[in-house]
């Protein structure tokens, strides 16, 4: 079977770690030229060393629209964009409603929502008409947790952004992936026994009672890049969490 992304240029913002790195690896394996971008040069350097092959990388500050615009100007024409950039700090500093400071609340949206929007806005002149954009939300959109109202609202907003941009940007296809619990480097900082316990507790009620891997998530993004009649979809890669 031929390589599905042969001759294509795939850009992964957030591609130096976690799900994004998995996408970069998988896209390279399918014959693509890959460009990874994230906020820190050291992470870009490490990722490129691990990726090898036809990969390139650069830093991007998705909080700065002008920097996002410059990134796409330098990049030139390309085929597929995957946006997986996420920051974890606002997730830990949520708070229940009385504690939410509305003025500060936007921090939750900065990278995952406004960053995605800036990327889509500034890529649309150079993305191929038969290309695709895939952005990323999270199961918190559908499984609200106490103290995470803003995160739920933000993740839901990302999904609806994908649905509406699919209408706006056609023939370019726009989809979202909604990951369940994924075993990324974020979990590395936790002691192993504690990690196992937390993962077990978090996944035991799921139909597939385990965490997903970045490689498994990556395949969903690759399908959405290659599935030429699929647009405006949110693909849940969650081990069935959304069912129960």
């Amino acid at each position: 079977m031929g390589k599905r992304l042969h001759g294509k240029k795939v850009v992964v913002i957030g591609g130096t770690s976690g799900i994004g790195f998995g996408i970069a690896e998988a896209a390279l394996g399918e014959g693509a030229k890959v460009v990874v971008a994230s906020s820190q040069q050291s992470k870009v350097d490490t990722a490129l060393k691990r990726l090898g092959g036809q990969s390139n990388g650069t830093t991007i500050d998705v909080k700065d629209e002008a920097d996002v615009a410059r990134f796409f100007e330098r990049l030139g024409k390309f085929d597929h964009l995957a946006y997986t950039a996420g920051d974890w700090t606002p997730l830990r500093t949520g708070g229940t409603l009385p504690e939410i400071e509305i003025g500060a609340a936007n921090a939750v949206f900065t990278v995952r929502f406004w960053g995605a929007l800036a990327a889509v806005k500034h890529c649309h002149r150079t993305i191929a008409p038969n290309g695709s954009i895939t952005i990323t939300d999270g199961m918190v959109a559908h499984r609200p947790r106490k103290g995470a109202a803003l995160n739920t609202a933000m993740a839901g907003a990302v999904e609806h952004l994908a649905r509406s941009l699919a209408v706006d940007l056609a023939p370019v296809r726009v989809n979202a992936v909604c990951p369940g619990l994924v075993l990324t480097e974020v979990w590395d900082s936790m002691p192993a026994d504690q990690r196992e316990e937390r993962l077990k507790a978090a996944t035991q009620r799921q139909p597939l009672a385990r965490a997903g891997t970045p490689a498994e998530l990556a395949e969903a993004y690759l399908y959405l890049m290659c599935g030429t009649y699929t647009t405006g979809q949110v693909l849940y890669v969650d081990g069935g969490l959304s069912l129960v």
């Binding site: 079977m1 649905r163 699919a166 209408v167 056609a170 023939p171 296809r173 369940g180 799921q206 139909p207 597939l208 009672a209 997903g212 891997t213 498994e216 998530l217 395949e219 969903a220 690759l222 399908y223 290659c226 599935g227 030429t228 009649y229 699929t230 647009t231 405006g232 979809q233 693909l235 849940y236 890669v237 969650d238 081990g239 069935g240 959304s242 069912l243 129960v244």
Partner: protein
């Protein structure tokens, strides 16, 4: 060998309704992924032969069985016989669907509703239910075709939307109940495509130029799809590439359901 080929290495993929335009494409992609295929047809022997030839062209074994999917006892015999012959069932795909008359509900005779819904819902159930114990053994995959009309209703399409909503509920049930045995189950929502029933619908006049143009205008992509587009999604969801995806309905509809 890819992970996908390993899962397909022993046992067989069942394709209920492998003789239609979409079914043929599904048989082909499963075979290209390394799977033997046992496909059923009801009346379309010629279509079944085309599907089987595509499987053989991919270097795999094909078995064709005439089967009325509304006959539950015959379905159970078919499933068990194929499991016996191929050493297990790793995938079960419900790709059949009755011909859909397009009617307003106000003009739809209860008898036609009962027949069409029954054929589709029980056809799906009768194929997948006896396959479940085999899928547990293989930690396999169930898949059924559905329609985007279960998300966004299309006028005169109740004979498709109503049974496919039930099919989706059955698939979600399998996903929720069988996940602990390692079984996954998903749907693919089929938009308006230029294969399968499309030509029959043109012949009867249910689809005409005006309908096609109006339909295209409701699609984000402004174009119709193909059986291959659907088969690619089936291929993905049946493969180990989708090992963490279960209970989902992936629409291949050009953005119709938006």
């Amino acid at each position: 060998m890819t992970a996908q080929a390993i899962r397909y290495a022993s046992g067989v993929a069942l394709v209920g309704g492998g003789s239609g335009g979409i079914g043929q494409a599904i048989c082909r992609v499963l075979a290209e992924g390394g799977s033997d295929v046992a496909l059923t047809y009801n009346r379309n022997r010629e279509g079944a032969e085309i599907a089987a030839q595509a499987v053989r062209d991919a270097g795999r074994t094909a078995e064709i069985v005439q089967l009325d999917l509304t006959d539950d006892a015959a379905c159970a015999r078919f499933v068990d016989a194929m499991a016996e012959r191929f050493g297990g069932v790793h995938t079960a795909v419900y790709a059949a669907g009755p011909y859909i008359d397009m009617r307003h509900i106000s003009r739809l005779e209860p008898a036609l509703f009962r027949k069409t819904v029954g054929t589709d819902v029980f056809g799906c159930f009768n194929l997948l239910q006896p396959a479940m114990r085999h899928l547990r053994e293989s930690r396999g995959v169930a898949l059924a075709l559905a329609t985007p009309a279960i998300r966004r209703y299309a006028v005169k399409d109740v004979l498709s939307a109503a049974p496919k909503a039930a099919v989706e509920a059955v698939i979600k049930g399998i996903a929720a109940e069988e996940g602990r045995f390692g079984v996954r189950a998903n749907c693919v929502g089929v938009g308006v495509i230029t294969d399968g029933m499309y030509h029959a619908l043109l012949d009867t006049g249910d689809f005409d130029d005006r309908f096609i143009e109006t339909t295209k205008a409701t699609l984000a992509l402004r174009r119709l799809g193909t059986a291959d587009n659907v088969a690619d999604a089936v291929d993905f969801l049946c493969s180990d590439k989708a090992a963490y995806i279960t209970g989902q309905t992936l629409m291949v509809d050009g953005g119709f359901a938006l």
